[in-house]
């Protein structure tokens, strides 16, 4: 196995709050890993640090052997990482298709001159982008909603659309931030299937943040658990479930939802 993402000795402060404490973990290529922890444990902050939204205070983040700690967001994305957001960040007024096309175009090029004249590669490339985006929408079950404004889609569909948009970036590592938030149990089951499918079909490495422990336990063979900004446990679901620190974090803070 080759490591694809290495996080080592990462710290982050917000004013006086130590939001991420000496974070260390490694993701192997092809892993489907879960990042769990109670509310406010610092999970999303870890995603933000990986994707260059915040600068690191200390430590390094390495992607495919390259140090990406000081790269800007768009550079990180360009290296082959994509993510979704906890509180959806779709382009609300654009159609579902246009949302995906906006991401998809990163891998289909034509020049500025071709753009202002609609000559040359414009036509073929735009057709390619459209077809590829439709394929992805179809993949997440939204093909019949392609022309609908993203903001008017039902909540569960918006989450799927975000995944399609992230996939359009053709990433090697996909970071999913609470993809099941706000979904009903039935939708969650469908989502789990979808995540498992795209993991194998697109040969992705996936790191998924989940708030509900049971869900992660079901789909992720590898789980990292955080509390108060620090990693408290790592391993397969059984190890995590029986880890005393994890139990304390969950039962001490809040009762996990059934």
């Amino acid at each position: 196995m080759t490591p694809i993402l290495e996080v080592s000795g990462v710290n982050k402060f917000f004013g006086g709050v130590h939001a991420v404490v000496d974070m260390d973990f490694v993701l192997e290529k092809g892993m489907l890993a879960g990042l769990i922890g109670p509310n406010g444990a610092g999970k999303t902050t870890v995603f933000n640090l990986i994707t260059g939204i915040y600068p690191l205070e200390t430590g390094h983040i390495t992607f495919k052997g390259e140090d990406i700690s000081s790269l800007k967001s768009y550079e990180v994305i360009g290296r082959g990482i994509a993510r979704t957001f906890q509180n959806l960040r779709l382009f609300q007024r654009s159609s579902a298709l246009e949302n995906v096309m906006t991401a998809c175009q990163q891998h289909h090029h034509y020049s500025f001159l071709e753009a202002v004249t609609h000559l040359g590669r414009w036509k073929k490339t735009e057709t390619d982008i459209r077809l590829r985006s439709m394929e992805l929408l179809d993949r997440v079950g939204l093909a019949d909603r392609a022309d609908q404004a993203a903001g008017t889609l039902p909540y569960g569909y918006q989450r799927r659309l975000e995944i399609a948009r992230a996939l359009a970036l053709e990433p090697e590592l996909l970071l999913l931030d609470e993809p099941a938030a706000g979904m009903n149990p039935e939708e969650v089951l469908e989502l789990n299937e979808l995540i498992k499918e795209i993991h194998s079909d697109f040969k992705l490495t996936i790191l998924v943040i989940e708030h509900h422990m049971e869900l992660v336990m079901e789909i992720c063979p590898h789980v990292i658990c955080m509390n108060f900004g620090a990693k408290i446990a790592e391993g397969n679901p059984e190890t995590i479930q029986n880890h005393p620190e994890v139990l304390r974090a969950y039962l001490g803070e809040e009762v996990p939802e059934a």
Partner: protein, 297 residues
């Protein structure tokens, strides 16, 4: 073909539309609110007329260099200032626009200062204005219907999401400003050739406000709306010329009323085109809508 008066209005329409398209790209499509774009018009006007009159350059080259000059300044100014967001950039853009005007006013030896530049050759004839308008409108519509259009809109709708879809948002914002600077510069150069006389005061903050409100009036994020808006405002301004006292009062009141009753402008984000007419016919026949837009589960 036309009388002199009608011809003048058509030329003015072309010039105003070119400038408005530039502002529309920046404000409507990239989400950067500007209140200083008259400055870029001024640059275009001065660069082209001075090059034509003092350096004896052919007028076509003058217009292009006027546009390019404005574009270069926009680009240079944009790199540091477009880090500012929202109202901070809006206020800074007033400063930038006014600074350009003040420099032109104070650089007496070259620009003759506040007295203005008279006797510019009248190179902006009707065919010239129309040709420039058609070519630049075509390029603008192509641009917004391309990868660049989607990229600008992504920056407008969600700056952070855009950068996490791999867009270099800072660079895109500067690019948008540079293009809009070019459009306004060319419009300024054409205006100089139309009026044969330019003066810094023509390009003050009121002119900038006018450019931006035309774009808002047409609908932020709709290029055809911008053209319709420019058409209406230019014609209405001409219509009200006999009661010019009340012209600006009505103009201000109209802006307020639009913001209250139809803030998305005439066109919203829609463009005139196949889909627009399809939506329109659909809306006129409510029964169809129920069929077409039905929710499938």
């Amino acid at each position: 073909m036309f009388g002199g008066y009608t011809e003048g209005i058509i030329i003015l329409l072309c010039i105003n539309s070119i400038a408005a398209m530039g502002v529309s790209l920046l404000t409507g499509f990239t989400g950067i609110f500007t209140l200083g774009h008259a400055g870029y018009m001024a640059l275009g006007a001065y660069v082209s007329s001075l090059l034509i009159m003092k350096a004896g350059m052919p007028w076509l080259a003058g217009i292009f260099l006027g546009g390019t000059g404005a574009m270069l300044v926009a680009w240079l100014v944009g790199i540091p200032t477009l880090k500012l967001m929202g109202d901070y950039y809006a206020i800074a853009s007033i400063g930038l626009g006014e600074a350009i005007r003040l420099i032109l006013e104070n650089w007496q030896s070259v620009t003759r200062g506040a007295r203005g530049v008279p006797g510019i050759p009248p190179y902006t004839t009707l065919p010239v204005a129309l040709a420039f308008f058609l070519v630049m409108a075509f390029a603008m519509f192509c641009l917004i219907n391309s990868r660049y259009g989607r990229a600008f809109k992504a920056c407008r709708d969600d700056y952070l999401a855009a950068s996490l879809l791999g867009f270099n948002t800072a660079k895109l914002r500067v690019l948008s400003l540079a293009i809009s600077g070019f459009y306004c510069g060319v419009a300024g150069a054409l205006l100089a050739g139309f009026l044969s006389f330019i003066q810094p005061i023509m390009f003050d903050m009121i002119k900038s406000t006018e450019l931006t409100s035309v774009v808002v009036f047409g609908g932020l994020g709709s290029m055809s709306g911008t053209l319709i808006g420019t058409g209406i405002i230019t014609l209405v301004t001409e219509l009200f010329r006999p009661i010019s006292q009340y012209r600006m009062l009505i103009y201000g009141a109209v802006i307020v009323i639009i913001m209250i009753f139809r803030p998305e402008g005439i066109m919203g984000q829609k463009e005139l085109g196949k889909t627009f007419f399809r939506d329109l016919t659909r809306r006129l026949k409510p029964a169809d809508k129920r069929h077409g837009g039905g929710v499938k589960r």
